[in-house]
């Protein structure tokens, strides 16, 4: 069965659009019959309209006091409405369109179920910026990445021998929407700190990171002792990086089972 008329491309333009947009993503934006945007600054919004003047923002669906899930459902309805009209639709999101992006995943899922061609093209996420700018290799030591509220609610375990990334530490337990340009829930941040202190010592250095969104600006990087996290410069967009406290030991038995004559060590372990 051939796909129905109408299609959906979901595209990420990175944290700093247009600098971090991809060629394939830009191409989809240009050729779309309808573009929906979900970007976070007027520069990106302006740039999108230079590529395609059939661009409409989805951000008007947010409002203070409204449950974000309700907003997300309305986004899906608006996107799918255009796809069902038979249009080639492109949805443009900041960062990576598949990270912390329920309405975009849901739109792709529904479009495919209904027989429309649908795709998602990767973009540069805040986590990608963090790896590059803090000099973190997630493969060295491993890396766990959680949304902060989920981390707390589900009592996710910390591995002190690996890297830990916590998203949205400034909006813990917030279902709605606020205008404040600071952490929306300081009390939640204090709870998170308490939970991390069950694993890490109070003086363990953690990093609050917010990738620069504009070309003239620097990323926000604040290194604080874990005990001081509740008072740190956290905003609604901050990501928390918790570096490893220890190095995970190598299991000699596993090393033998894998037929390794010498245990595999990281370059850092080999140097020490």
């Amino acid at each position: 069965m051939s796909p129905r008329a109408g299609s959906l491309s979901v595209v990420g333009v990175g944290i700093r659009a247009p600098a971090q947009a991809t060629l394939e993503g830009s191409s989809r934006i240009r050729s779309a019959e309808k573009v929906f945007s979900l970007v976070t600054d007027p520069l990106a919004e302006y740039w999108l309209r230079t590529l395609n003047n059939r661009t409409q923002s989805l951000c008007d669906l947010y409002s203070v006091g409204k449950d974000r899930f309700e907003t997300y459902c309305e986004m899906v309805d608006r996107i799918m409405g255009a796809v069902r009209e038979g249009l080639q639709v492109c949805v443009v999101a900041y960062g990576h369109p598949g990270v912390a992006a329920y309405p975009l995943h849901e739109s792709v899922r529904r479009a495919r179920i209904e027989g429309f061609a649908a795709e998602m093209l990767a973009g540069i996420s805040a986590e990608d910026c963090l790896f590059a700018e803090l000099g973190i290799d997630p493969i060295a030591g491993g890396c766990c990445s959680y949304e902060a509220t989920d981390f707390l609610l589900r009592r996710r375990s910390c591995n002190p021998g690996g890297n830990l990334i916590l998203w949205q530490v400034g909006v813990i337990a917030e279902r709605g929407h606020k205008h404040e340009d600071v952490a929306w829930n300081r009390a939640g941040l204090a709870v998170l700190t308490g939970v991390l202190l069950e694993t890490y010592p109070p003086d363990h250095e953690v990093v609050i990171f917010e990738a620069a969104r504009l070309p003239a600006c620097e990323s926000y990087v604040e290194r604080v002792a874990l005990r001081d996290l509740p008072e740190a410069g956290v905003t609604a967009m901050s990501t928390l990086f918790v570096p490893p406290m220890t190095s995970a030991p190598i299991d000699d038995e596993m090393s033998r089972r894998l037929g390794l004559r010498e245990p595999c060590r990281t370059p850092e372990e080999s140097r020490s």
Partner: protein, 105 residues
Amino acid sequence: MAETPVLTEYLLKLSTDADELKNFRAAQKGKTVVDYLAQQGLDSEQADAIESNDPHKIVKAVLEELRRLSALHKVDPKEKPLFGTPVTIVAPLGNFQQDHLHLTQ
């Protein structure tokens, strides 16, 4: 002939032109960034906003520029696609502060 949004276009240039970014960084380092930006056509308020390295001030300056131009000029949307299009800007820094820019033709 429509006026170009100088600050907005300059920021786009900084995003995609490595040589311009290098020149800008050099001016920043040499504490001459305001003069340098004036040479690029930015007014003093716009240059101050960029010099501050404060994304909120820069976003505000961009919004003000786009508003002012849209109020002053009737622009063919094909020529300047932002103008004439109801735009919702989420600023600053994605904290979902909504600023509805209904730019009129």
